[in-house]
Amino acid sequence: MAIPQADKFRKMIEMEVLKVIKELAQRDDTPSEKIQQIAQTTLELIRPEMQLTELYQNAVKLDDRHPELAPVVFKIMKEYEERYHKKTIDMVSDFVKAGKHDDAQDAVKKLLEFKAHEED
């Protein structure tokens, strides 16, 4: 059973994705299939039974197939660090310990982009 904090985080992620979907639909140049795929990816990666860390690990992958969700991933990383006081680097360590080196590499890349953006 998801703890309340994880539930709050999950709702935040879903809400941010819906905002992007709204913008894409309002621009009228996005095929409906694309919008449906974005919804599908979100439903697959972000699930109610997940704990906080797992939600975060999956959320940062949202923009892997959908660059439109890059701003959402950025917001999620910021939210995770600020509100939940978690070190993003811990996630990278978890990936390495689990032998998921590709995931670790992607996470480091995103972390560096995020930190660079923060310093601007």
Binding site: D7, K11, E14, M15, V17, L18, K19, I21, K22, A25, Q26, D28, D29, T30, P31, S32, I35, Q36, A39, Q40, T42, L43, P48
Partner: protein
């Protein structure tokens, strides 16, 4: 001996033109390529809806994503969610009212789209009976939901009467009559006035129903009815102004906080 046999001549026979015209429709630049139905299902207003929807249930945003993923129209999503919550015994009056308001909002958007399509079909002299039926059923649905909403909402004037100590059966049968006397008393009695103000404050401020009740016309009737207290007409208007103005200020300051 040479013969003058005709040589074979290669004759080019052009391919036979089909009997029908094949109109290969090439999308014009910037032409919409999406499925109109999906976009018509209020995807454009999803973020606004989702923001409020999250207050209906923690599942609402995920539910909206599921509908989008399936390419389904969003109408019906909040009604289903509300039924689910009710079946689990997990809903309160405020949640139910919110879900109904959201559902009515979606239905109104849908009926707007359907009626535009219907107008177009009528203008083209090709009336679409399926669209007409859909419009009719949506309007009926909106009516039913609004009635359900009204039935669930407590009668604010009755609640106010009960809060001021009026007998419950009298409050239900004749709430305005029961309150008139209290209000007349409030014109000359500070304590009675304060009780009314406190009771309305506990209810979250004056609703439209209460405001209508406290309207100038009603208070004037009240003052005439209580004869002696007609001399206090100035006080009656003053009370109305105090109650409506004071609450307006309170609501504004609550919004700012």
């Amino acid at each position: 001996m040479m013969t003058n046999e005709p040589k074979d001549i290669d004759v080019f026979i052009p391919p036979r033109k089909p009997d029908f015209d094949i109109d290969l429709e090439v999308p014009k630049q910037n032409e919409k390529v999406y499925d109109e139905n999906v976009i018509e299902s209020s995807i454009k207003d999803i973020a606004e809806t989702a923001n409020v929807a999250a207050e209906v249930s923690s599942n609402a945003t995920r539910l909206i994503l599921k509908y989008i993923q399936a390419g389904e129209k969003l109408t019906g999503v909040f009604e289903k969610e509300l039924e689910q919550l009710k079946s689990e015994g997990k809903t309160d009056r405020k949640q139910a009212a919110l879900a109904i308001d959201l559902e009515v909002g979606l239905l109104l958007k849908r009926v707007d789209i359907v009626s535009k399509k219907l107008s177009k079909s009528l203008a083209n002299k090709q009336p679409d009976s399926a669209l007409a039926q859909e419009a009719e059923s949506i309007i009926q649905k909106i009516h039913d939901l609004k009635e359900e909403r009204a039935a669930d909402e407590p009668n604010q004037v009755v609640e106010l009467a009960k809060a001021l100590g009026v007998d419950e059966s009298l409050a239900i049968v004749n709430p305005f009559g029961a309150l008139e006397e209290k209000l007349a008393l409030a014109i000359i009695d500070d304590l009675a006035r304060q009780r009314i103000i406190s009771a309305i404050e506990k209810m979250g401020g004056p609703t439209k129903e209460i405001k209508d009740f406290l309207s100038h016309a009603k208070l004037q009737d009240n003052v005439k009815k209580y004869g002696k207290r007609a001399a206090m007409a100035g006080g009656a208007v003053g009370l109305m102004m105090v109650l409506s103005g004071w609450f307006a200020m309170k609501m504004e300051s609550a919004k700012r906080q």
